[in-house]
Amino acid sequence: MAVKLLLDKAHIEGIRYYDTWRKNGGYTAVEKALKMTPDEIVEEVKKSGLRGRGGAGFPTGMKWSFLAKPEGVPRHLVCNADESEPGTFKDRYLMEFIPHLLIEGLIISSFALGSSATYIYIRGEYAWIPDILEEAIAEAKANGWLGKNILGTGFDCEIYVQRGGGAYICGEETALIESLEGKRGNPRLKPPFPAVQGLWMRPTVVNNVETLAAVVPIINMGGEEYGKIGVGRSTGTKLISACGNINKPGVYEINFDLSVEEFIYSDEYCGGIPNGKRLKACIPGGSSVPIVPANLLFKTAKGETRYMNYESLSDGGFATGTMLGSGGFIVLDEDQCVVRHTMSLAHFYNHESCGQCSPCREGTGWMYKILKNIEYGKGKMSDIDLLWDIQRRIEGNTICPLGDAAAWPVAAAIRHFRDEFEWHVLNPEESQTRNYGIAHYADPREVVA
Protein backbone atom coordinates (compact mmCIF):
# COMPACT_ATOMS: atom_id res chain seq x y z
CA MET A 1 0.00 0.00 0.00
CA ALA A 2 1.40 3.36 -1.03
CA VAL A 3 2.18 5.78 1.79
CA LYS A 4 0.62 9.21 1.50
CA LEU A 5 2.15 12.09 3.41
CA LEU A 6 0.89 15.14 1.52
CA LEU A 7 -2.42 14.19 -0.04
CA ASP A 8 -3.57 11.85 2.75
CA LYS A 9 -6.32 14.31 3.71
CA ALA A 10 -7.01 15.80 0.29
CA HIS A 11 -10.23 13.80 -0.15
CA ILE A 12 -11.87 15.09 3.06
CA GLU A 13 -14.79 17.37 2.37
CA GLY A 14 -14.08 20.95 3.42
CA ILE A 15 -10.37 20.32 4.09
CA ARG A 16 -9.62 23.70 2.52
CA TYR A 17 -11.00 25.36 5.63
CA TYR A 18 -9.32 25.77 8.97
CA ASP A 19 -11.84 24.00 11.20
CA THR A 20 -11.82 20.83 9.13
CA TRP A 21 -8.05 20.94 8.76
CA ARG A 22 -7.57 21.37 12.50
CA LYS A 23 -10.05 18.60 13.35
CA ASN A 24 -8.06 16.27 11.14
CA GLY A 25 -4.77 16.80 12.87
CA GLY A 26 -3.84 20.14 11.33
CA TYR A 27 -1.38 22.49 13.09
CA THR A 28 -0.03 19.76 15.38
CA ALA A 29 3.25 20.10 13.48
CA VAL A 30 3.39 23.84 14.24
CA GLU A 31 2.66 23.16 17.91
CA LYS A 32 5.45 20.62 18.00
CA ALA A 33 7.95 22.68 16.02
CA LEU A 34 7.54 25.84 18.04
CA LYS A 35 8.58 23.90 21.14
CA MET A 36 11.83 23.01 19.39
CA THR A 37 14.73 25.36 18.65
CA PRO A 38 15.23 26.59 15.08
CA ASP A 39 18.45 24.55 14.84
CA GLU A 40 16.65 21.40 15.94
CA ILE A 41 14.13 21.88 13.14
CA VAL A 42 16.91 22.30 10.58
CA GLU A 43 18.46 19.12 11.99
CA GLU A 44 15.20 17.16 11.50
CA VAL A 45 14.95 18.38 7.91
CA LYS A 46 18.55 17.33 7.31
CA LYS A 47 17.89 13.88 8.78
CA SER A 48 14.81 13.46 6.58
CA GLY A 49 16.93 13.62 3.42
CA LEU A 50 14.28 15.86 1.84
CA ARG A 51 15.39 17.16 -1.55
CA GLY A 52 14.00 20.29 -3.21
CA ARG A 53 10.84 19.50 -5.16
CA GLY A 54 11.15 22.48 -7.51
CA GLY A 55 13.25 20.55 -10.00
CA ALA A 56 16.90 20.56 -9.00
CA GLY A 57 16.57 18.11 -6.08
CA PHE A 58 19.06 19.92 -3.84
CA PRO A 59 18.99 18.74 -0.18
CA THR A 60 16.76 21.17 1.70
CA GLY A 61 18.38 20.84 5.11
CA MET A 62 21.78 21.64 3.63
CA LYS A 63 20.37 24.65 1.80
CA TRP A 64 18.89 25.92 5.05
CA SER A 65 22.17 25.55 6.89
CA PHE A 66 23.90 27.82 4.32
CA LEU A 67 21.68 30.75 5.31
CA ALA A 68 23.87 33.61 6.55
CA LYS A 69 22.86 35.11 9.89
CA PRO A 70 24.57 38.48 10.26
CA GLU A 71 23.57 40.32 13.43
CA GLY A 72 20.70 42.79 12.98
CA VAL A 73 19.92 41.93 9.35
CA PRO A 74 16.44 40.50 8.71
CA ARG A 75 16.22 37.20 6.84
CA HIS A 76 13.49 36.02 4.50
CA LEU A 77 11.87 32.82 3.39
CA VAL A 78 10.32 32.96 -0.07
CA CYS A 79 8.00 30.26 -1.32
CA ASN A 80 8.39 29.59 -5.02
CA ALA A 81 4.87 29.10 -6.39
CA ASP A 82 5.75 30.28 -9.88
CA GLU A 83 5.13 26.80 -11.32
CA SER A 84 5.57 27.41 -15.05
CA GLU A 85 7.56 24.41 -16.26
CA PRO A 86 5.45 22.81 -19.00
CA GLY A 87 3.91 19.61 -17.70
CA THR A 88 3.93 20.77 -14.07
CA PHE A 89 0.74 21.59 -12.16
CA LYS A 90 1.24 19.94 -8.78
CA ASP A 91 1.84 23.03 -6.63
CA ARG A 92 -1.40 24.45 -7.91
CA TYR A 93 -3.19 21.34 -6.61
CA LEU A 94 -1.65 21.70 -3.15
CA MET A 95 -2.52 25.39 -2.91
CA GLU A 96 -6.04 25.05 -4.30
CA PHE A 97 -7.19 22.08 -2.28
CA ILE A 98 -5.06 21.85 0.88
CA PRO A 99 -3.77 25.38 1.44
CA HIS A 100 -3.32 24.90 5.19
CA LEU A 101 -0.67 22.25 4.59
CA LEU A 102 1.46 24.87 2.87
CA ILE A 103 0.71 27.54 5.48
CA GLU A 104 1.74 25.14 8.24
CA GLY A 105 4.94 24.32 6.40
CA LEU A 106 5.63 28.02 5.93
CA ILE A 107 5.15 28.84 9.61
CA ILE A 108 7.51 26.07 10.71
CA SER A 109 10.10 26.92 8.07
CA SER A 110 9.88 30.65 8.80
CA PHE A 111 10.52 29.90 12.47
CA ALA A 112 13.46 27.63 11.65
CA LEU A 113 15.04 30.24 9.38
CA GLY A 114 14.08 33.33 11.36
CA SER A 115 11.88 34.92 8.72
CA SER A 116 9.31 37.32 10.12
CA ALA A 117 8.10 38.39 6.68
CA THR A 118 7.64 35.42 4.38
CA TYR A 119 6.47 35.81 0.78
CA ILE A 120 4.66 33.39 -1.47
CA TYR A 121 5.50 34.36 -5.05
CA ILE A 122 2.78 32.83 -7.21
CA ARG A 123 2.54 32.95 -10.99
CA GLY A 124 0.13 35.70 -11.99
CA GLU A 125 -2.01 33.43 -14.12
CA TYR A 126 -3.11 31.45 -11.06
CA ALA A 127 -5.25 34.50 -10.40
CA TRP A 128 -7.87 32.87 -8.18
CA ILE A 129 -5.45 31.04 -5.89
CA PRO A 130 -4.17 34.08 -3.92
CA ASP A 131 -7.73 34.46 -2.58
CA ILE A 132 -7.63 30.87 -1.31
CA LEU A 133 -4.21 31.34 0.27
CA GLU A 134 -5.08 34.69 1.82
CA GLU A 135 -8.21 33.19 3.33
CA ALA A 136 -6.16 30.37 4.84
CA ILE A 137 -3.59 32.85 6.14
CA ALA A 138 -6.34 34.95 7.73
CA GLU A 139 -7.80 31.83 9.38
CA ALA A 140 -4.39 30.82 10.70
CA LYS A 141 -3.84 34.31 12.05
CA ALA A 142 -7.27 34.46 13.68
CA ASN A 143 -6.37 31.24 15.50
CA GLY A 144 -3.04 32.48 16.77
CA TRP A 145 -0.70 30.59 14.42
CA LEU A 146 0.53 33.76 12.74
CA GLY A 147 1.05 37.35 13.80
CA LYS A 148 2.82 38.58 16.91
CA ASN A 149 4.40 36.37 19.55
CA ILE A 150 3.11 33.10 18.15
CA LEU A 151 2.23 30.57 20.91
CA GLY A 152 4.13 32.75 23.37
CA THR A 153 7.47 32.02 21.73
CA GLY A 154 8.25 35.66 21.02
CA PHE A 155 8.39 34.81 17.31
CA ASP A 156 6.48 37.16 15.00
CA CYS A 157 5.55 36.10 11.49
CA GLU A 158 3.47 37.38 8.60
CA ILE A 159 2.93 35.60 5.28
CA TYR A 160 2.19 37.66 2.17
CA VAL A 161 1.08 36.48 -1.26
CA GLN A 162 2.55 38.21 -4.28
CA ARG A 163 1.39 37.61 -7.85
CA GLY A 164 3.84 37.59 -10.74
CA GLY A 165 3.14 39.11 -14.13
CA GLY A 166 3.59 36.13 -16.44
CA ALA A 167 7.19 35.02 -17.08
CA TYR A 168 8.55 31.47 -16.79
CA ILE A 169 11.99 32.78 -15.92
CA CYS A 170 10.66 34.13 -12.61
CA GLY A 171 10.68 30.54 -11.35
CA GLU A 172 14.48 30.76 -11.31
CA GLU A 173 15.21 31.86 -7.78
CA THR A 174 17.24 35.01 -8.43
CA ALA A 175 14.85 36.16 -11.19
CA LEU A 176 12.04 35.54 -8.71
CA ILE A 177 13.80 37.75 -6.18
CA GLU A 178 14.26 40.52 -8.77
CA SER A 179 10.59 40.28 -9.65
CA LEU A 180 9.63 40.42 -5.99
CA GLU A 181 11.62 43.64 -5.80
CA GLY A 182 9.46 45.09 -8.57
CA LYS A 183 11.89 44.61 -11.44
CA ARG A 184 12.19 42.66 -14.68
CA GLY A 185 12.84 38.98 -14.07
CA ASN A 186 16.51 38.95 -15.02
CA PRO A 187 18.45 36.23 -13.18
CA ARG A 188 21.40 37.48 -11.14
CA LEU A 189 25.00 36.46 -11.57
CA LYS A 190 26.08 34.16 -8.72
CA PRO A 191 27.80 34.45 -6.31
CA PRO A 192 26.58 36.04 -4.15
CA PHE A 193 23.95 33.39 -3.58
CA PRO A 194 20.55 34.28 -2.13
CA ALA A 195 21.56 32.61 1.15
CA VAL A 196 23.94 35.55 1.62
CA GLN A 197 22.37 38.33 -0.44
CA GLY A 198 18.87 37.65 -1.69
CA LEU A 199 15.68 39.65 -1.35
CA TRP A 200 16.64 43.31 -0.76
CA MET A 201 20.22 42.02 -0.39
CA ARG A 202 19.20 40.20 2.79
CA PRO A 203 19.91 36.49 3.43
CA THR A 204 17.10 34.55 1.74
CA VAL A 205 15.95 30.98 1.27
CA VAL A 206 13.79 30.18 -1.76
CA ASN A 207 11.95 26.86 -1.66
CA ASN A 208 9.30 25.22 -3.75
CA VAL A 209 5.69 24.85 -2.52
CA GLU A 210 5.87 21.05 -2.28
CA THR A 211 9.22 21.19 -0.45
CA LEU A 212 7.76 23.45 2.23
CA ALA A 213 4.62 21.34 2.50
CA ALA A 214 6.80 18.26 3.09
CA VAL A 215 8.24 19.90 6.21
CA VAL A 216 4.90 19.22 7.92
CA PRO A 217 5.05 15.38 7.81
CA ILE A 218 8.78 15.59 8.61
CA ILE A 219 8.02 17.39 11.86
CA ASN A 220 5.01 15.22 12.65
CA MET A 221 6.81 11.90 12.21
CA GLY A 222 10.39 13.00 12.82
CA GLY A 223 13.12 13.36 10.21
CA GLU A 224 14.50 9.90 10.73
CA GLU A 225 11.16 8.15 10.13
CA TYR A 226 10.54 10.28 7.05
CA GLY A 227 13.97 9.33 5.75
CA LYS A 228 13.10 5.63 6.03
CA ILE A 229 10.32 6.03 3.48
CA GLY A 230 11.63 5.84 -0.04
CA VAL A 231 14.64 4.41 -1.82
CA GLY A 232 18.24 5.49 -1.27
CA ARG A 233 18.62 9.24 -1.55
CA SER A 234 15.03 9.60 -2.75
CA THR A 235 13.21 9.94 0.55
CA GLY A 236 9.58 10.66 1.39
CA THR A 237 6.99 10.90 -1.37
CA LYS A 238 6.66 12.99 -4.52
CA LEU A 239 3.80 14.67 -6.27
CA ILE A 240 3.67 13.88 -9.96
CA SER A 241 1.49 15.82 -12.36
CA ALA A 242 0.71 13.53 -15.26
CA CYS A 243 -0.46 14.77 -18.65
CA GLY A 244 -0.39 14.08 -22.37
CA ASN A 245 -1.77 10.90 -23.91
CA ILE A 246 -2.98 9.02 -20.83
CA ASN A 247 -6.42 8.01 -19.64
CA LYS A 248 -6.26 9.68 -16.25
CA PRO A 249 -4.29 12.94 -16.26
CA GLY A 250 -3.97 14.53 -12.84
CA VAL A 251 -1.86 14.92 -9.72
CA TYR A 252 -0.67 11.77 -7.93
CA GLU A 253 1.39 11.28 -4.80
CA ILE A 254 3.79 8.44 -5.51
CA ASN A 255 6.25 6.38 -3.53
CA PHE A 256 9.75 6.16 -4.94
CA ASP A 257 9.59 2.37 -5.37
CA LEU A 258 6.84 2.61 -7.98
CA SER A 259 7.92 1.43 -11.41
CA VAL A 260 7.44 3.76 -14.35
CA GLU A 261 5.50 1.05 -16.15
CA GLU A 262 3.07 0.68 -13.28
CA PHE A 263 2.67 4.45 -13.02
CA ILE A 264 1.63 4.69 -16.66
CA TYR A 265 -0.51 1.55 -16.90
CA SER A 266 -2.04 0.99 -13.47
CA ASP A 267 -5.60 2.22 -12.95
CA GLU A 268 -4.50 3.71 -9.68
CA TYR A 269 -2.40 6.22 -11.61
CA CYS A 270 -2.42 7.19 -15.30
CA GLY A 271 -4.65 4.29 -16.36
CA GLY A 272 -2.82 3.54 -19.60
CA ILE A 273 -2.96 5.16 -23.00
CA PRO A 274 -6.28 6.04 -24.63
CA ASN A 275 -7.68 4.01 -27.55
CA GLY A 276 -5.22 1.17 -27.07
CA LYS A 277 -2.43 3.23 -28.63
CA ARG A 278 1.19 2.35 -28.11
CA LEU A 279 3.59 4.41 -26.04
CA LYS A 280 6.15 6.35 -28.05
CA ALA A 281 8.06 8.50 -25.59
CA CYS A 282 7.93 10.24 -22.25
CA ILE A 283 9.30 13.39 -20.64
CA PRO A 284 9.04 12.44 -16.98
CA GLY A 285 10.18 15.57 -15.16
CA GLY A 286 8.84 18.67 -16.88
CA SER A 287 9.71 19.95 -20.35
CA SER A 288 13.37 20.70 -19.54
CA VAL A 289 14.42 17.12 -18.91
CA PRO A 290 15.48 14.76 -21.70
CA ILE A 291 12.77 12.94 -23.62
CA VAL A 292 13.18 9.15 -23.55
CA PRO A 293 11.81 6.65 -26.04
CA ALA A 294 9.54 3.89 -24.74
CA ASN A 295 12.23 1.22 -24.93
CA LEU A 296 14.43 3.10 -22.44
CA LEU A 297 11.59 4.13 -20.17
CA PHE A 298 10.55 0.91 -18.45
CA LYS A 299 14.03 -0.57 -18.37
CA THR A 300 17.40 1.11 -18.07
CA ALA A 301 20.10 0.40 -20.66
CA LYS A 302 21.38 -2.26 -18.23
CA GLY A 303 18.01 -3.97 -18.43
CA GLU A 304 16.94 -3.09 -14.89
CA THR A 305 13.44 -1.93 -14.06
CA ARG A 306 13.15 1.84 -14.02
CA TYR A 307 11.45 3.39 -11.01
CA MET A 308 9.92 6.77 -10.32
CA ASN A 309 12.81 8.20 -8.31
CA TYR A 310 15.75 10.58 -8.73
CA GLU A 311 18.43 7.91 -9.17
CA SER A 312 16.58 5.40 -11.31
CA LEU A 313 15.24 7.95 -13.77
CA SER A 314 18.69 9.44 -14.24
CA ASP A 315 20.38 6.05 -14.57
CA GLY A 316 22.44 6.04 -17.75
CA GLY A 317 23.00 9.80 -17.67
CA PHE A 318 21.82 11.78 -20.64
CA ALA A 319 22.86 9.02 -23.03
CA THR A 320 20.07 6.66 -21.98
CA GLY A 321 18.44 8.24 -18.94
CA THR A 322 16.53 11.37 -17.98
CA MET A 323 15.54 13.15 -14.73
CA LEU A 324 12.76 13.31 -12.15
CA GLY A 325 12.89 17.13 -12.31
CA SER A 326 9.72 18.83 -11.16
CA GLY A 327 7.59 15.72 -11.62
CA GLY A 328 5.80 17.04 -14.70
CA PHE A 329 5.19 13.71 -16.44
CA ILE A 330 4.38 14.09 -20.16
CA VAL A 331 3.37 11.02 -22.18
CA LEU A 332 3.46 10.83 -25.99
CA ASP A 333 1.59 8.09 -27.84
CA GLU A 334 2.45 6.61 -31.23
CA ASP A 335 0.54 9.31 -33.15
CA GLN A 336 2.70 12.14 -31.86
CA CYS A 337 5.47 13.80 -33.83
CA VAL A 338 8.67 14.32 -31.88
CA VAL A 339 9.84 17.06 -34.27
CA ARG A 340 6.65 19.04 -33.74
CA HIS A 341 6.73 18.58 -29.98
CA THR A 342 10.37 19.66 -29.81
CA MET A 343 9.55 22.68 -31.98
CA SER A 344 6.77 23.65 -29.59
CA LEU A 345 9.14 23.46 -26.62
CA ALA A 346 11.81 25.42 -28.51
CA HIS A 347 9.23 28.14 -29.11
CA PHE A 348 8.47 28.13 -25.41
CA TYR A 349 12.10 28.61 -24.35
CA ASN A 350 12.69 31.25 -26.99
CA HIS A 351 9.63 33.13 -25.79
CA GLU A 352 10.70 32.83 -22.16
CA SER A 353 14.41 33.69 -22.47
CA CYS A 354 15.02 36.89 -20.56
CA GLY A 355 17.50 37.97 -23.21
CA GLN A 356 20.49 38.73 -21.00
CA CYS A 357 22.93 36.19 -22.48
CA SER A 358 23.47 35.89 -26.20
CA PRO A 359 23.79 32.07 -26.37
CA CYS A 360 20.33 31.73 -24.81
CA ARG A 361 18.66 34.73 -26.47
CA GLU A 362 19.95 33.99 -29.98
CA GLY A 363 20.37 30.23 -29.71
CA THR A 364 16.79 29.54 -28.64
CA GLY A 365 15.56 31.61 -31.58
CA TRP A 366 17.74 29.75 -34.07
CA MET A 367 16.70 26.38 -32.69
CA TYR A 368 13.05 27.31 -33.05
CA LYS A 369 13.50 28.54 -36.63
CA ILE A 370 15.44 25.46 -37.71
CA LEU A 371 12.95 23.10 -36.06
CA LYS A 372 10.12 24.96 -37.75
CA ASN A 373 11.78 24.51 -41.13
CA ILE A 374 12.24 20.79 -40.55
CA GLU A 375 8.69 20.37 -39.26
CA TYR A 376 7.20 22.19 -42.26
CA GLY A 377 9.19 20.27 -44.86
CA LYS A 378 11.79 22.95 -45.55
CA GLY A 379 14.70 21.44 -43.65
CA LYS A 380 18.08 20.24 -44.88
CA MET A 381 20.08 17.29 -43.57
CA SER A 382 22.77 19.69 -42.36
CA ASP A 383 20.15 21.44 -40.21
CA ILE A 384 20.10 18.46 -37.86
CA ASP A 385 23.82 18.78 -37.19
CA LEU A 386 23.48 22.54 -36.91
CA LEU A 387 20.78 22.08 -34.25
CA TRP A 388 23.06 19.73 -32.35
CA ASP A 389 25.86 22.25 -32.56
CA ILE A 390 23.72 25.16 -31.34
CA GLN A 391 22.33 23.33 -28.33
CA ARG A 392 25.85 22.28 -27.36
CA ARG A 393 27.02 25.88 -27.47
CA ILE A 394 24.19 27.08 -25.25
CA GLU A 395 24.59 24.46 -22.55
CA GLY A 396 26.74 25.65 -19.69
CA ASN A 397 27.44 29.06 -21.23
CA THR A 398 24.71 31.16 -19.66
CA ILE A 399 23.93 33.08 -16.48
CA CYS A 400 21.09 30.83 -15.42
CA PRO A 401 20.04 27.24 -16.19
CA LEU A 402 17.27 28.27 -18.62
CA GLY A 403 19.88 27.91 -21.33
CA ASP A 404 20.48 24.27 -20.35
CA ALA A 405 16.75 23.72 -20.01
CA ALA A 406 16.31 24.86 -23.61
CA ALA A 407 19.25 22.82 -24.91
CA TRP A 408 18.54 19.45 -23.26
CA PRO A 409 15.16 18.70 -24.88
CA VAL A 410 16.60 19.39 -28.34
CA ALA A 411 19.70 17.29 -27.66
CA ALA A 412 17.67 14.35 -26.38
CA ALA A 413 15.22 14.51 -29.27
CA ILE A 414 18.05 14.33 -31.80
CA ARG A 415 19.91 11.68 -29.81
CA HIS A 416 16.98 9.28 -29.68
CA PHE A 417 14.84 10.27 -32.65
CA ARG A 418 17.35 11.29 -35.30
CA ASP A 419 15.72 8.98 -37.84
CA GLU A 420 12.47 10.87 -37.41
CA PHE A 421 14.20 14.21 -38.09
CA GLU A 422 15.86 12.69 -41.17
CA TRP A 423 12.57 11.29 -42.40
CA HIS A 424 11.08 14.80 -42.21
CA VAL A 425 13.94 16.19 -44.27
CA LEU A 426 13.84 13.39 -46.84
CA ASN A 427 10.05 13.36 -47.15
CA PRO A 428 9.03 17.01 -47.10
CA GLU A 429 5.62 16.36 -48.59
CA GLU A 430 4.66 13.12 -46.89
CA SER A 431 5.67 14.53 -43.50
CA GLN A 432 2.98 17.19 -43.92
CA THR A 433 0.27 14.58 -44.20
CA ARG A 434 1.22 11.88 -41.71
CA ASN A 435 3.48 11.26 -38.76
CA TYR A 436 6.49 9.02 -38.63
CA GLY A 437 5.16 6.50 -36.11
CA ILE A 438 7.28 4.65 -33.58
CA ALA A 439 9.91 2.71 -35.57
CA HIS A 440 12.52 0.71 -33.71
CA TYR A 441 11.97 2.33 -30.33
CA ALA A 442 8.66 0.52 -30.22
CA ASP A 443 6.67 0.17 -27.03
CA PRO A 444 8.08 -2.89 -25.29
CA ARG A 445 4.61 -3.84 -24.04
CA GLU A 446 1.97 -5.85 -25.86
CA VAL A 447 -0.39 -3.71 -27.86
CA VAL A 448 -3.75 -3.78 -26.12
CA ALA A 449 -6.04 -2.79 -28.97
Binding site: P74, E83, S84, E85, P86, G87, T88, F89, R92, A117, Y119, R123, G124, E125, Y126, A127, W128, E158, Y160, Q162, R163, G164, G165, G166, A167, Y168, S179, L180, E181, G182, K183, R184, G185, W200, S241, A242, C243, G244, N245, P249, G250, V251, S287, G328, I330, V331, L332, Q336, R340, H341, S344, L345, F348, H351, E352, C354
Partner: protein, 163 residues
Protein backbone atom coordinates in the same frame (compact mmCIF):
# COMPACT_ATOMS: atom_id res chain seq x y z
CA UNK B 1 -7.40 59.05 -13.97
CA UNK B 2 -7.28 57.93 -10.37
CA UNK B 3 -8.02 54.82 -8.32
CA UNK B 4 -11.16 54.78 -6.19
CA UNK B 5 -10.66 55.22 -2.45
CA UNK B 6 -11.26 51.49 -2.03
CA UNK B 7 -8.48 50.66 -4.49
CA UNK B 8 -6.18 53.24 -2.88
CA UNK B 9 -6.68 51.50 0.46
CA UNK B 10 -5.76 48.21 -1.21
CA UNK B 11 -2.65 49.88 -2.69
CA UNK B 12 -1.56 51.09 0.74
CA UNK B 13 -2.18 47.69 2.24
CA UNK B 14 0.05 46.12 -0.43
CA UNK B 15 2.83 48.68 0.05
CA UNK B 16 2.77 47.96 3.79
CA UNK B 17 3.83 44.35 3.11
CA UNK B 18 7.36 45.50 2.31
CA UNK B 19 10.02 47.19 4.43
CA UNK B 20 10.35 50.97 4.49
CA UNK B 21 11.73 52.30 1.24
CA UNK B 22 11.06 49.02 -0.64
CA UNK B 23 7.68 50.12 -1.98
CA UNK B 24 8.81 49.36 -5.53
CA UNK B 25 8.11 45.71 -4.67
CA UNK B 26 4.43 46.57 -5.01
CA UNK B 27 4.83 47.39 -8.69
CA UNK B 28 3.55 44.17 -10.28
CA UNK B 29 0.53 43.90 -7.96
CA UNK B 30 -0.32 47.55 -8.72
CA UNK B 31 -0.02 47.01 -12.46
CA UNK B 32 -2.53 44.15 -12.17
CA UNK B 33 -4.96 46.42 -10.37
CA UNK B 34 -4.39 49.26 -12.84
CA UNK B 35 -4.94 47.04 -15.86
CA UNK B 36 -8.17 45.77 -14.37
CA UNK B 37 -9.43 49.23 -13.49
CA UNK B 38 -8.45 51.09 -16.64
CA UNK B 39 -9.78 49.08 -19.57
CA UNK B 40 -7.70 45.91 -19.71
CA UNK B 41 -4.42 47.41 -20.90
CA UNK B 42 -1.69 49.75 -19.71
CA UNK B 43 -1.67 53.07 -21.50
CA UNK B 44 1.27 55.41 -20.81
CA UNK B 45 -0.71 57.75 -18.53
CA UNK B 46 -1.78 54.69 -16.51
CA UNK B 47 1.83 53.61 -16.04
CA UNK B 48 2.82 57.17 -15.14
CA UNK B 49 0.11 57.20 -12.49
CA UNK B 50 1.46 53.95 -11.00
CA UNK B 51 4.97 55.45 -10.99
CA UNK B 52 3.63 58.45 -9.10
CA UNK B 53 1.89 56.25 -6.52
CA UNK B 54 5.14 54.37 -5.86
CA UNK B 55 7.46 57.39 -6.07
CA UNK B 56 9.54 55.77 -8.80
CA UNK B 57 10.53 56.91 -12.29
CA UNK B 58 8.09 56.16 -15.13
CA UNK B 59 10.83 54.26 -16.99
CA UNK B 60 11.01 51.78 -14.11
CA UNK B 61 7.35 51.02 -14.70
CA UNK B 62 7.62 50.79 -18.50
CA UNK B 63 10.53 48.36 -18.38
CA UNK B 64 8.65 46.06 -16.01
CA UNK B 65 5.28 46.29 -17.76
CA UNK B 66 6.83 45.32 -21.10
CA UNK B 67 8.68 42.33 -19.61
CA UNK B 68 5.66 40.39 -18.36
CA UNK B 69 3.18 38.74 -20.72
CA UNK B 70 0.10 39.43 -18.61
CA UNK B 71 0.33 43.16 -19.19
CA UNK B 72 -1.21 44.35 -22.43
CA UNK B 73 0.55 47.24 -24.12
CA UNK B 74 -2.27 47.71 -26.63
CA UNK B 75 -6.05 47.82 -26.26
CA UNK B 76 -7.64 44.37 -26.16
CA UNK B 77 -11.16 43.06 -26.62
CA UNK B 78 -13.68 42.77 -23.80
CA UNK B 79 -12.85 39.07 -23.58
CA UNK B 80 -9.29 37.86 -24.08
CA UNK B 81 -9.13 34.18 -25.04
CA UNK B 82 -5.68 33.03 -23.94
CA UNK B 83 -5.35 29.55 -25.35
CA UNK B 84 -2.33 27.52 -24.26
CA UNK B 85 -0.30 26.23 -27.20
CA UNK B 86 2.67 24.56 -25.45
CA UNK B 87 3.67 20.90 -25.99
CA UNK B 88 1.52 19.12 -23.39
CA UNK B 89 -1.61 20.99 -24.56
CA UNK B 90 -0.65 20.37 -28.18
CA UNK B 91 -0.63 16.62 -27.45
CA UNK B 92 -4.29 16.93 -26.58
CA UNK B 93 -5.44 19.06 -29.48
CA UNK B 94 -4.76 22.73 -28.70
CA UNK B 95 -3.86 23.36 -32.38
CA UNK B 96 -7.40 22.45 -33.42
CA UNK B 97 -8.91 24.68 -30.74
CA UNK B 98 -6.82 27.67 -31.84
CA UNK B 99 -7.63 27.06 -35.53
CA UNK B 100 -11.30 26.79 -34.70
CA UNK B 101 -11.33 30.10 -32.84
CA UNK B 102 -9.46 31.80 -35.70
CA UNK B 103 -12.02 30.56 -38.21
CA UNK B 104 -15.04 31.22 -36.09
CA UNK B 105 -14.06 34.76 -35.13
CA UNK B 106 -12.21 35.59 -38.34
CA UNK B 107 -9.09 36.80 -36.52
CA UNK B 108 -5.46 35.77 -36.28
CA UNK B 109 -3.39 35.35 -33.13
CA UNK B 110 -3.02 38.67 -31.35
CA UNK B 111 -5.99 40.26 -33.14
CA UNK B 112 -9.30 41.59 -31.88
CA UNK B 113 -12.70 41.17 -33.55
CA UNK B 114 -14.07 44.38 -35.19
CA UNK B 115 -16.87 44.56 -32.60
CA UNK B 116 -14.23 44.78 -29.89
CA UNK B 117 -15.50 41.70 -28.09
CA UNK B 118 -12.78 39.07 -28.50
CA UNK B 119 -9.00 38.98 -28.62
CA UNK B 120 -7.16 35.74 -29.34
CA UNK B 121 -3.90 35.60 -27.41
CA UNK B 122 -2.05 32.28 -27.66
CA UNK B 123 -0.34 31.58 -24.35
CA UNK B 124 2.50 29.39 -23.11
CA UNK B 125 1.94 26.68 -20.47
CA UNK B 126 -0.51 27.89 -17.85
CA UNK B 127 -0.15 25.04 -15.37
CA UNK B 128 -3.21 23.11 -16.49
CA UNK B 129 -1.53 20.56 -18.74
CA UNK B 130 -3.54 17.67 -17.26
CA UNK B 131 -6.80 19.39 -18.11
CA UNK B 132 -5.83 20.22 -21.69
CA UNK B 133 -6.71 21.78 -24.03
CA UNK B 134 -7.43 24.88 -22.01
CA UNK B 135 -7.61 28.64 -22.02
CA UNK B 136 -7.47 31.44 -19.54
CA UNK B 137 -10.46 33.75 -19.56
CA UNK B 138 -10.06 36.65 -17.16
CA UNK B 139 -9.37 35.38 -13.67
CA UNK B 140 -10.24 31.74 -14.35
CA UNK B 141 -9.26 28.78 -16.50
CA UNK B 142 -11.58 26.96 -18.92
CA UNK B 143 -10.30 23.39 -19.06
CA UNK B 144 -10.84 20.15 -20.99
CA UNK B 145 -12.00 22.19 -23.98
CA UNK B 146 -13.73 20.73 -27.01
CA UNK B 147 -14.89 22.50 -30.17
CA UNK B 148 -18.46 22.32 -28.81
CA UNK B 149 -17.45 23.86 -25.48
CA UNK B 150 -15.64 26.69 -27.25
CA UNK B 151 -18.71 27.39 -29.40
CA UNK B 152 -20.96 27.45 -26.35
CA UNK B 153 -18.53 29.69 -24.47
CA UNK B 154 -18.35 32.23 -27.29
CA UNK B 155 -22.15 32.32 -27.56
CA UNK B 156 -22.47 32.82 -23.81
CA UNK B 157 -19.98 35.66 -23.85
CA UNK B 158 -21.73 37.35 -26.77
CA UNK B 159 -25.01 37.12 -24.87
CA UNK B 160 -23.40 38.42 -21.68
CA UNK B 161 -21.94 41.40 -23.56
CA UNK B 162 -25.43 42.42 -24.74
CA UNK B 163 -26.78 42.68 -21.21
Amino acid sequence: MKFSQEKLNKVNEIIARYPEGKQKSALIPLLHIAQEEFGGWLDVPVMDYVAELLHINPIEVYEVATFYTMFNMKPVGKYVLEVCQTGPCMLRGSDQIIDHIKNKLGIQAGETTPDGLFTLKPAECLGACGYAPMMQLGKFFKENLTIEKVDALIEDLKAAAKN
